[in-house]
């Protein structure tokens, strides 16, 4: 569910990209002159600036589908961490249930990362013959196999 909620954000983020476009153009040159004096008097403000810069760059330059992938990755990482935490706190019986539950999140995470690598425009030269549609189809098939395995293994 959080995936959808977060995925529903492209509208404001798209607005942010337009808004950030003005600042980004200003901030890229602004960062280099600021770096020299900030090292002496205001390092905290500088870090703040850097983070904001990264965020704005991300919001502006990242395609909407890649952002969707990132949101899904965060969701999977949270689900996996919760399951691992439960295993540490409550014990690992029945162990096959822990393995399949935790393994499902790990496997899904790895597959989603692969999808992200293959669909990023910057990596187009690495995968000349893999179109985004083809990458997504691979991803769906592999994920279904993973889910089948996990549901079977948890018995």
């Amino acid at each position: 569910m959080p995936a959808k909620k977060n995925a529903a954000q492209p509208a404001p983020s798209a607005a942010a990209t337009t808004q950030a476009s003005t600042t980004a153009t200003g901030s890229v040159p602004a960062s280099s002159p600021v770096a020299a004096p900030a090292a002496k008097n205001a390092p905290a403000a500088n870090w703040d600036k850097v983070l904001q810069n990264i965020y704005q760059y991300y919001m502006k330059e990242t395609p909407q589908r890649t952002k969707l992938i990132d949101v899904f990755l965060v969701f999977i990482a949270v689900v996996g961490a919760l399951q691992f935490l439960y295993c540490i706190l409550a014990g690992n019986y029945p162990f096959n249930a822990f393995l399949s539950g935790f393994g499902a999140t790990v496997g899904q995470f790895v597959l989603t990362i692969s999808l992200r690598i293959q669909t990023t425009a910057a990596n187009k030269s690495e995968f000349p013959e893999v179109s985004p549609e083809r990458a997504f189809a691979d991803y769906v098939v592999c994920s279904l196999i993973l889910h089948f395995f996990c549901v079977n293994f948890i018995n």
Binding site: M1, T66, I76, A90, A97, F102, P132
Partner: protein
């Protein structure tokens, strides 16, 4: 299979029911056949119990223990004979072969007659030592018979034996009786587990050679004294054949069976030699102390199938074994001696369980011992093993092999039955749902390439 076996066993039991479980052909070896008159009552009692008694001297030509590889006699009784060796037909090797072929031997010795070298060798094979020079008599200056041996002190009068140690059947226990041992030869037992002393000499007895040590007995030359000396001992081989050494052959003679004896300073009483001789011969010739396994049954609890070949780990299994004991002329339910336990081992190389079998029921001629237990969490080829080997009782070794398999894949509890698995089930659910939602939004979104 079992029914055929039990019918055969029943037929066999009927054929020999009047007498011993191992046959009724008895060979008595003595110096001169005429000597048997002296043992008339004892031998007559054996004949009356159903034995076919043959008499032979060691010199006899036709004497042979085996014919075409089969025993020609079931039991041997050696009475004292003056021959130095017993001849080519009764060599120690032949006698050991006879025991190996399930023949029983009762050896009666006397200090009046030097023991034959064949018998000395046979007994030393069994770790029973006789005095050197084949002669030696046991005397006791405190427990002698004042009527017949007031001077020579070589007729011992002993209280009837009590149980040698706890956990044995009391076949030789005669309450309150006395036994006379005239001119007895003592022997010393080795440490073998198959040997059991029945009557030991009292603490004040000792053994000496009347010919060479008549005047003075050097302590260095003493053969044995006190409780070291055994007067009656039994040996049961691993095949349950029995060998008994009776130190005094004369106690079997008519004149000693019911003789009046008197201890030093005591009244004259009748000896219990007759009953004791009957029991010694009966035990040796397998009329008492013989066990039979009628049936072994094991089954899964809640299942009707008997003796299945395969079980699963952690199954609840019941095991029963039916045992009978032969007492003189009939099979009766076997009752364990006091302080003894019948145990079942469930073993694969080494026992995983060793459990006490409890008496669960009794029929006319059999006692049923059983136990229920849970199989170990280990799959493999296992044996139900009852290994009951005790002195004075024939050996019982019953082994039934079964396979124990592991859980089949559909015999485990489902994960949703185990509440501990619910968080992980919901974890998979969240992952799958998230995946579906992700795919839906992905396909709804505008592709990257066609952004502009």
């Amino acid at each position: 299979m079992w029914s055929i076996l039990s019918v055969a066993a029943a037929l066999f039991a009927a054929a020999v029911s009047a007498v011993s479980t191992s046959g009724n052909r008895l060979l008595v070896v003595l110096d001169d056949v005429a000597e048997k008159e002296a043992y008339g009552q004892f031998l007559g009692d054996l004949t009356a119990r159903g034995y076919e008694v043959s008499y032979e001297t060691p010199r006899s030509e036709g004497l042979t223990l085996f014919h075409l590889g089969e025993r020609t006699y079931d039991h041997l009784l050696f009475l004292p004979s003056k021959v130095k060796g017993l001849g080519p037909n009764l060599t120690p090797n032949r006698l050991v072969d006879f025991v190996n072929a399930n023949g029983n031997i009762l050896v009666a010795l006397s200090s009046k007659v030097p023991t034959s070298t064949s018998l000395v060798s046979l007994l030393s094979e069994l770790d029973i030592s006789l005095p050197v020079e084949r002669t030696g008599t046991v005397v006791d200056h405190f427990n002698y018979d004042t009527i017949s041996a007031a001077e020579s002190h070589d007729v011992l009068v002993l209280d009837a034996p009590s149980n040698i140690r706890p956990g044995l059947k009391s076949y030789f226990e005669l309450h309150g009786g006395v036994l006379a041992f005239p001119h007895a030869v003592g022997h010393v037992l080795g440490s073998g587990p198959l040997l059991t002393p029945i009557v030991r000499a009292p603490a004040t007895a000792y053994s000496y050679n009347p010919k060479e040590q008549a005047e003075v007995l050097d302590a260095d030359e003493l053969f044995a004294a006190g409780q070291q000396l055994a007067l009656v001992s039994v040996m049961q081989a691993r095949n349950s054949a029995r060998v008994t050494v009776l130190g005094s052959a004369e106690m079997l003679q008519d004149k000693w069976l019911d003789a009046k004896v008197a201890k030093l300073g005591g009244k004259s009483t009748k000896t219990e030699n007759k009953e004791f001789a009957r029991r010694v011969a009966g035990w040796t010739f397998q009329e008492i102390g013989v066990l039979r396994v009628n049936s072994v049954e094991h089954h899964l609890q809640g299942s009707e199938e008997l003796n299945p070949g395969i079980y699963r780990v952690k199954n609840d299994v019941s095991y029963t074994i039916s045992l009978s004991e032969y007492v003189w002329d009939k099979w009766v339910p076997f009752v364990l001696p006091e302080d003894d336990l019948l145990q079942l081992e469930f073993s694969m190389l080494s026992p995983f369980h060793r459990l006490n079998l409890e008496l669960t029921g009794t029929t006319d001629d059999a006692a049923i011992y059983g136990v229920s237990f849970t199989l170990p969490d280990q799959h493999g080829i296992f044996n139900f093993l009852v290994n009951y080997k005790r002195s004075l009782l024939t050996n019982v070794e019953e082994k039934n092999t079964v396979s124990v398999r592991h859980f089949a894949h559909d015999e485990w509890p489902r994960s949703f039955v185990i509440s501990g698995a619910w968080p992980w089930i919901s974890g998979i659910g969240a992952t799958v749902t998230g995946f579906l939602g992700f795919c839906a939004i992905w396909m709804y979104s505008k592709p990257v390439g066609k952004k502009n």
